[in-house]
Symmetry: C2
Subunit: 351 residues, 2 copies
Amino acid sequence: MGAKKARPVTLQMIADQLGLHVSTVSRVLHAKPGEGLRAASSPTVERVRRLADELGYQRNPHAMSLRTQRSNLIGVLVPRLSDMVLATIYEGVEEAAAEHGLSTFVTNTRDVPEVQRARTEMVLGRRVDGLIFGDAHSDSVFLDEVAARGVPFVLVNRRAGGHPAVVCDDYLGGRLVADHLLEQGHEDVAVVAGEPYASTGIDRTGGFADRFREAGLPIPAHRIVHSRFDAQGGRAGTERLLATGPRPSAVFVVNDFGAIGTIGALRDHGLRVGADIAVVGFNDTPLAAELPVPLTTVRSPMREMGRRGLRQLVRVLAGEQAESELLRPELIVRASSDPALYERLKAGTVG
Amino acid sequence: MGAKKARPVTLQMIADQLGLHVSTVSRVLHAKPGEGLRAASSPTVERVRRLADELGYQRNPHAMSLRTQRSNLIGVLVPRLSDMVLATIYEGVEEAAAEHGLSTFVTNTRDVPEVQRARTEMVLGRRVDGLIFGDAHSDSVFLDEVAARGVPFVLVNRRAGGHPAVVCDDYLGGRLVADHLLEQGHEDVAVVAGEPYASTGIDRTGGFADRFREAGLPIPAHRIVHSRFDAQGGRAGTERLLATGPRPSAVFVVNDFGAIGTIGALRDHGLRVGADIAVVGFNDTPLAAELPVPLTTVRSPMREMGRRGLRQLVRVLAGEQAESELLRPELIVRASSDPALYERLKAGTVG
DNA sequence: CGCGATTGCCCAAACGTTTGGGCCAAACGT
DNA sequence: ACGTTTGGCCCAAACGTTTGGGCAATCGCG
């Protein structure tokens, strides 16, 4: 037992068994519709095809890549896959890649510039055909370098330095949140703005702040704090917010996981989310709706972002121009920022 | 501007420039310590090294894999990376892989058998050296087949059919939860047990149920429901639980994300977690501590599981025997199941 | 000084594909 | 009957490495 690893079947084996030349077999099996017409007679084609899948032939990707200088591999860099947002985006990328016959190579950079560089080199070393960055920093020097080297890539999730990017319209998302809070009569609000180098946080905060300014309620600088994009970050940011003077009546946390940290911090301060203070998140991760006090948030098309990012990369690889895309966000109002919903929630069942 | 993609530098180029033979250059750059001693004189070695990194030489992995029949690639299959648990495990795998000079190739199978098969084939088609399955089903027919083909692999997260696996001691984890709830005086408990084919859910539930049985309080079948491992699944399972007769005094949800869904469902039924009903999760994801009512859960060493899984695979690839490992879980008691903590929480700050 | 060992390097084949070109026979046109 | 096309296939070179072997010069040693 324990079948010893049989050597995989090659074109050569098929050719030998059929008394054909390897090149003929190659053309029969892999030539694109238009060009392989005169490769072989149709009975031959049939014989080759039959034997190939009888033997379970699988093209050797290394030989092929070596010969064609194309790997059909694309590299994906993300801050961390344990961030559900990026993981979901990646799922979209992978899905679309599979549809295009491409494989993906994903790696975590932890948003650390040296790691980004190192992982990029390693992925390039693997001879990927192109890259998708989900971890762009708004200071785009690194990306500029990569672009200068002629490496094809597109950005998803975050934009930077005018490079082709598929992102959510974060600025609009921020405005939507502001619209909503203004409607609810909030005048003293705060923002947990995420990492200062991420366009997501920057744009969401920007849209939000602009809208409040337009309403004659500019947000003072100390009401905006930066933080990591996870629960711990949200907690830390919120603690800093609460440490400075009177507490705001609402806080906009630029992503859902951060918002959960915020909720934890507020709880520790004896504040009831939805009653004493409003909280709004971003992304509408599956958790948002399930929290004890459901979280108002902005739905962003994460998986779709990944899909479209890949599609743009495919265009670039085909020599076309990539186009940046701005995907529509949607505000989802829940009890964490809506007194009426909150009352209904507390009254008993909601539905 | 727009540097045209310069052809990557090859051994040949280096050799030519130095008037050496390509094989000499190869040995100088890549021979392992012991064997390359007589490859070249030390001045030559120096010249080669210098020129190589001056030119930024990078070994072409396709040529190398083609020649050596080894790709230094390993395939990782997970149900879904948007499940933070698997994503974290994968981070461990990737980390350890990098330390071993390996690259990883991860793909989502959504726990669908046909997809598992298809993705496995595709990954094998990419000529990976070995596999890590994070999505094993306890009916292990597929894995048996893979093993019979002589493909090296190890399991992480879930075990199945005696194949080498690195998992958390889920059975013990379940017992720990039971210990705790028994201590709190709970006599009528329920379990949201996850997918019926996952050893994680099965073992956690098994340990839990065994302990209650030993305490003379066997858990009736209708108190155990299966569900998906995410928030929606937890919610759905809990709804089914609440639909049948009197409600339990505590519910053990075999993973944290499920527990969040449970919390949502309980909320909709007007039940206060920690006061009206106890809830316990599993995994201690970073969210657990931040919930409005912090969640009691079992900490499992996810990242470490990934690291060790990879290490075992490396052993297998080196021709050694892999050993299954059982990692220690740790119960983390929080307010969701501890009245004393709950009171302190409600009283104000907790620290 | 002669002989075996060592040093420093080169040679060539192989890994499995792809692809431009060529060759022969049959079919076709006039 | 004789050139021309076309169908069906083969040839061979390349892609960039790795690796077992070989060969000449130098060295150590008695």
